[in-house]
Amino acid sequence: MSVWDAVAAEGTRPQQLADTVALLSDAVGRAALRAAAQDPDGTLPLEVAPPQPSSGQRAAAQEAARVWQGLGVRVALAGDPAWPSVIDRVPGPPALLAWRGPDRLPPGPAVAVVGARRATPYGTGVAAWLAQAAAEAGVTVVSGGARGIDAAAHGASARHGTVVVLGCGHDVPYPQEHARAGGLFDRVLDGGGAIVSELLPGTPPRPGAVRSRNRIVAGLADAVVVVEGREGSGALVTAGVAADAGIEVLAVPGDVRAPGSAAPHLLLREGAAVCADPSDLLAALSVTGGPGAHGERGADTVSVLPPKVLTELRQRWPRPVRASALASAAGLTLPETMACIVRGRVAGEVAEGPEGVRLRRAP
């Protein structure tokens, strides 16, 4: 009887998985269960046989374990030495966590930067700002692996090691542009971060799975910042779980007319702390500020951009500026502006999107 047979027979939804793990660990003890879980063919010395899975179910479960092995995924069950015990604070904690990356998830203070997939440049700019400042102050950034705010947060802090929590199995390439070679996930792993999932390989990113993923995001963090989200946003689930578990919730105020401000404003109304600056975030975590926490950085570093261009970009940050607007504000011709934008991009100072250019770092 393999542990995977049992899992396959009982089902792979998080609650079923938790039940199976509890049942098996009562029967054989944690150590044996853990050893068996790492081995697709490992057998359990069970005295009372659990329900027999069909051969198809068994093959599927063994395949799952093989996929994990192939991806170099580490599996921890609740209570293992590598188990991040902070996760047990959330209601309905996961029974197992599987992650790619380091042996243990990064310890120490962590902040969840979460928000909408359909983010505005303002939202992604603020998320990147907060995430980078937090990471430079030694705080681990936790977020989902989605596009929009999640991606902006990871993108700005990936080199410091972030934690991505997936709403699907490890082998499901979702979202595609993050999962492909050289994408965001690879950058997170290269930076020493981890990619976590409680789901078995092959589990597709169903809306339910993505929402239950949010409780892990909250559980792994010491504070949750909601940047942008519409009514009914998944970020509200993260914030709700966090509030229930006694984890600090902050919200970034947005444009009062923008639909993407509904979620953070709802949270603010319900008593979440205002996060208007990385220092708000670090104060909530009781961490003293790193180099990016306060506004002066960038002013004294040498820039490849002409001073007037830099001033305009600083004033508009985090909103992007069009090349033509930049040209007239800085008193340059359009060709000159185009050239200096490319110089800034080559130097890594500015980022360009369909809506224009903006400084990569907060001014």
Partner: protein
């Protein structure tokens, strides 16, 4: 009795000589047409017979056989009527047999003997001249087009009776004269485009280097306005090029045969619902030229690029690369010239509101990514200049002064093109890689490589940047390509959403 003269059959723009033979002799009275005639050619028998009757020309008493050789070539259209009629006249001795030696006749007959022009008079007469015809009988109506061909004597006649007079009585019809070529003005001036500096700059660069251009921007930002003004910035066509363009239009039946030769580069803007046949050419029988060939030596404007079906767009790749479009059908392959400068326009995202200050885009980031992803790939790889335009608010529009006029910009373009032509022997967008590298220089190549590394470009991106940088330097009247030129060139690419 037997007589023979020539006619010309067009397969696409490729001309084939057709010998029209007539033999009269014993048998049941009637006209038999052989030599793979299509329906329109077969109907020719009735038209010819009616014309003879009307003009009181003697119809042979016995059996008349008219053969169009070579027999394996399919003969299409009404252009053989005149040659069939003359062959019968010569076979019956109404006109002396010697009078039809070295004669080629092209034209459709009316029931009263009127001679009408057929589509493609220009390539037909040009082919007749090339195939060695001494005299070509053509319709008087629309003979201005035939007169564009040099080195052949035209017998321009209004009806069959007149041609009989020419061939029998030695009447010499007046040689038609082609009106002098003109540069037709469409009245569109670049000064109409207010604001939109980026777009104006891009159009100028496109004109100077012959680069393909992509304009992305919300509806109403002036993409079409800019595209329509590109032909005005281009130098007038060389006579040979104008003739080539006119020949395609003539074959497509889209040219007024009495109009003077137009030296303005053609502009074609097929609607986005156009079919592959409409864009690239096609149709039953011998494929007709599509919009891309009608824009030969000119500008093809594709608005709403992403609304055009994928398979239609994919068909553009080969002509954009090679300058010809090959339409292969069961009956054979037809080639039309298709050297065009492509201007494509697209919305920035599915809803069109991305990047607008006054409205929020309703698209999810993945929708935007997917939408723009459809742009990428082999077609986008061939578009050197890509710019993102923004909508100029109406209030600003009113305040803005008129932009530089077409004359001013066209003068700069002319100089830059002349410089590039003298240095490289071709347009910067088209010269070979080795020539381009020499023209760009080592330092600029290093700068391009550095930018490409930092921004993660492919080899195609490097090449495009080098071409645009060379054009920028030419417009800047600079012999070498500087870092600033390269940096500006690198900016003319669509950004991918973060």
């Amino acid at each position: 009795m037997h007589a023979r003269l020539s006619a010309v059959a067009l397969v696409g723009l490729e001309a084939h000589r057709v010998d029209v033979e007539c033999s009269t002799g014993q048998g049941l009275p009637g006209l038999r047409l052989v030599g793979l005639p299509d329906a329109a050619v077969r109907e020719s028998a009735d038209r010819v017979r009616a014309a003879f009757h009307r003009l009181r020309l003697p119809w042979p008493e016995g059996k008349v056989v008219v053969n169009l050789a070579p027999a394996q070539l399919r003969k299409v259209g009404g252009g053989f009527d005149l040659s069939i009629a003359v062959a019968i006249l010569a076979a019956t001795g109404v006109v002396p047999a010697g009078a039809v030696v070295g004669l080629t006749a092209i034209g459709e007959l009316g029931l009263d003997g009127l001679v009408r022009p057929v589509p493609g008079m220009l390539p037909l007469v040009a082919a007749a001249a090339r195939l060695g015809a001494e005299r070509v009988a053509v319709p008087l109506r629309g003979s201005a087009e035939s007169a564009l061909v040099h080195g052949v004597r035209l017998l321009a006649v209004d009806d069959l009776g007149q041609l009989v007079a020419v061939l029998r009585d030695g009447l010499r019809p007046e040689q038609p004269v082609a009106p002098a070529p003109v540069e037709h003005s469409d009245g569109l001036d670049l000064s109409d485009v207010r604001g939109q500096e980026l777009g104006r700059r891009a159009v100028e660069l496109a004109a100077a280097g012959g680069h393909h251009l992509l304009l992305a921007g919300p509806p109403g930002c002036g993409k079409t306005l800019l595209a329509q003004r590109l032909p005005g910035l281009l130098p007038p066509l060389a006579l040979d090029d104008a003739l080539e363009s006119a020949a395609v239009l003539s074959a497509a039946g889209e040219r007024d045969p009495d109009a003077p030769l137009d030296l303005r580069p053609p502009f074609r803007a097929p609607h986005h619902s156009t079919s592959a046949a409409g864009l690239l050419g096609g149709g039953s029988g011998i494929p007709r030229p599509g919009a891309i060939s009608c824009a030969h030596h000119g500008v093809l404007f594709l608005d709403e690029l992403l609304e055009i079906p994928r398979h239609v767009l994919d068909g553009l790749r080969e002509p954009l690369e090679g300058g010809t479009v090959a339409l292969t059908r069961a009956a054979g392959t037809v080639r039309y010239p298709a050297r065009v400068q492509l201007v494509a326009a697209t919305n920035p995202c599915p809803c069109g509101d991305l990047g607008r200050d006054d409205r929020t885009c309703r698209c999810r980031p993945d929708q935007v990514t997917r939408y723009r992803g459809r742009l990428s790939g082999p077609l986008l790889d061939r578009i050197d200049l890509q710019v993102e335009l923004e909508r100029v608010p109406a209030a600003t529009l009113v305040e803005l002064p008129a932009g530089e006029a077409t004359d001013v910009v066209a003068a700069r373009v002319r100089v830059a093109r002349a410089v590039a032509l003298e240095r490289d022997g071709g347009l910067t967008s088209q010269v070979r890689w080795a020539v381009l590298r020499r023209a760009v220089g080592v330092d600029a190549q290093r700068r391009v490589a550095r930018v490409a590394d930092a921004l993660g470009w492919s080899a195609r991106g490097v090449e495009r940047c080098m071409r645009v940088a060379r054009t920028i330097a030419d417009l800047d009247d600079s012999a070498g390509v500087s870092d600033a030129h390269v940096d500006e060139a690198a900016g003319y690419r669509l950004a991918v959403p973060a």
